[in-house]
């Protein structure tokens, strides 16, 4: 700690240059924080999915409907604890940008299918008994200012009402916390019967069947049993765990991890040169000062350590600024994308990267400082 003023003074020898370099390094760490935060949040969201929940789609494609009658057949498969048809509805509220993720579900099966979801039984009963009822997550209710008793005219983007309009009026009968739930935690839950019977086409079908198994270790075996049940039928199925489906969907977007690592890698590779050049220039300018330190009794290694400490302090401060700014954006990411960024591991990785950056960019100037010959440097040679 006693060397800190000396290290700090070395960094701020040329304040303008130091600030500009700090901003460029901080900017790189901001980019790192946002991109890696996105990736980690995505991975975390996938990792959080329950291994004991299966999704059954049509083998043809995920948009091909399945008959609702298959739900009852699936419930008879050994190892199945619960099953519910789910019709995902992408809807908007007043403006097209006010997106509402809605799911038409069987209220009686919903809690059994999403094990972490805690919705009071009274709310489930209210949804069951109100044909146009809707349960909304706290987050949605807060975002749109909804409360129990409100009538909300949803505009579905892909399911038309039998009256020829895309409008589905729903009555809010409960606001649930959403904590712990992974499948429906942020959604609006509607009565499957209301949607199924009210739509212009496709009555009696579902896009997906959510299945919960007794034992996650048997998930694969149960999935195979379900698919075998409908093999060679008019509606063959493809059953996978939620995690597998999520991973497939992410893969469809491309190899996000590779793209992010490539961008971050390129940025930091460029930074190595700019920080390295700054440190080298700084050491060159301070040759007489470093020689004086050696004259006073600082050993070659101590002077090398000082330069390395400068590089380390500079990179860590820059990383703290960049990652701090990124952390301010994490709540925004949660609001807009809907998943949590794993800030702890991300910060750890960021500061680890800062240390690597400091060691590589500060190494050559530190070695130069170490090799400095006092007599020659004092004589200006």
């Amino acid at each position: 700690m006693k060397f800190l003023p000396l290290i700090w003074a070395g960094i701020w020898r040329k304040p303008g240059r130091a600030i500009l370099t700090l901003l460029s390094v901080a900017n790189a760490f901001l980019l790192f924080g946002i991109l890696q935060g996105f990736a980690s949040g995505l991975n975390h969201a996938v990792g959080e999915t329950h291994a004991d929940v299966l999704l059954t789609f049509s083998r043809v494609s995920q948009v091909e409907p399945l008959p609702v009658s298959q739900v009852a057949q699936i419930r008879t498969v050994p190892g199945v604890r619960a099953a519910t048809p789910v019709v995902p509805i992408i809807a908007s509220y007043r403006a097209p940008t006010q997106i509402v993720p809605a799911e038409a579900v069987d209220p009686k099966a919903i809690l059994a299918v999403d094990p972490g979801l805690t919705i009071p039984q009274t709310m489930i009963d209210a949804l069951s008994s109100t044909r146009t009822g809707a349960l909304v997550s706290k987050r949605l209710a807060t975002r749109y200012g909804w409360k129990v008793g409100d009538r909300v005219p949803l505009r579905a983007l892909q399911i038309q009402n039998s009256n020829g309009t895309p409008t589905w009026p729903v009555d809010i009968v409960g606001v649930f916390d959403g904590k712990g739930g992974t499948l429906f935690a942020n959604a609006m839950l509607l009565n499957f019967d209301y949607v199924d019977q009210g739509r212009a086409t496709g009555a009696g079908t579902t896009n997906v069947i959510f299945v919960r198994v007794d034992d996650p270790n048997h998930a694969t075996r149960v999935a195979q049993a379900i698919d075998r049940l409908f093999a060679n039928s008019a509606h063959e199925t493809k059953t996978s765990t939620v995690r597998e489906v999520a991973q497939d969907q992410i893969k469809q977007l491309g190899d996000i991890g590779f793209v992010i690592n490539a961008i971050v890698g390129a940025v930091f590779f460029a930074l190595l040169f700019s920080v390295g050049a700054l440190m080298m220039q700084s050491v060159r300018e301070r040759t007489p000062e470093l020689a004086v330190l050696k004259t006073l009794g600082f050993t070659d290694r101590a002077v090398m350590g000082l330069v390395m400490a400068e590089s380390l302090t500079f990179c860590l401060v820059s990383a703290a600024v960049g990652l701090g700014l990124a952390a301010l954006l994490f709540p925004v990411a949660r609001q807009t994308i809907g998943f949590d960024v794993q800030a702890g591991p991300l910060m750890l990785a960021g500061f680890g990267l800062a240390v690597v950056l400091a060691l590589i960019s500060g190494g050559p100037p530190a070695i130069r400082a170490m090799r400095l010959e006092v007599v020659d440097a004092l004589a200006g040679r």
């Binding site: 000396l6 000062e289 004259t295 007599v375």
Partner: protein
Amino acid sequence: MNEAAEPLIRLRGVIKRYRRGRQTLEVLHNLDLDVAAGEFLALMGPSGSGKTTLLNLIGGLDQPTEGEVEVAGEEIDRLSGGQLARWRSRHVGFVFQFYNLMPTLTAERNVELPLLLTPLSGAERKRNVEAALALVGLTDWRKHRPNELSGGQQQRVAIARAIVADPTLLVCDEPTGDLDRETAEEVLGLLQQLNRAQGKTIVMVTHDPKAASFASRIVNLDKGALVPAPAMGVV
């Protein structure tokens, strides 16, 4: 010099050669020199006579090609680079012609630098720094940076830095070379006071006979060899 006393600095058969490209230059030739503890020695001579080279050897900044250099009982010509650095921090204070202060540090932080290498606590370092600055009369300027100080004040900060760790020996290379006459005399008076009141042994390189007159002994160097001093009063 008191012949009976054990010398603080003892040089025997010192030769210093430098390689410059393909040439080898012998800067000091078989030089013997004793400096007693508590002595204020002025090293004079024309440019290129080897004064600074000799000073560097005495201060442990450089090592002889041949010969022995013993300072404060330590044969410093046998020490490694790291050992020599640690030895300098304990035994030698340096004062340069151009002050060589850290431009980004305040006067007190500059003075504190040698103490960073000691196990002293922050409070102890602060006390020593205040004492050293008080001794050179710069207590009120302790928070100022070098560019806010005059040349004389900067040199006094450099002297405070040189004495703060209470070294045995002060090595001064043209300490008044960049100062006007009046300020130079103030600085030389300060060095003389340190020599007389604190008993510091001082070896000072200077071109200036007036500056040399503040020393208790003058040694002349010419073409790398000691030559008899011209008649000059000892102060």
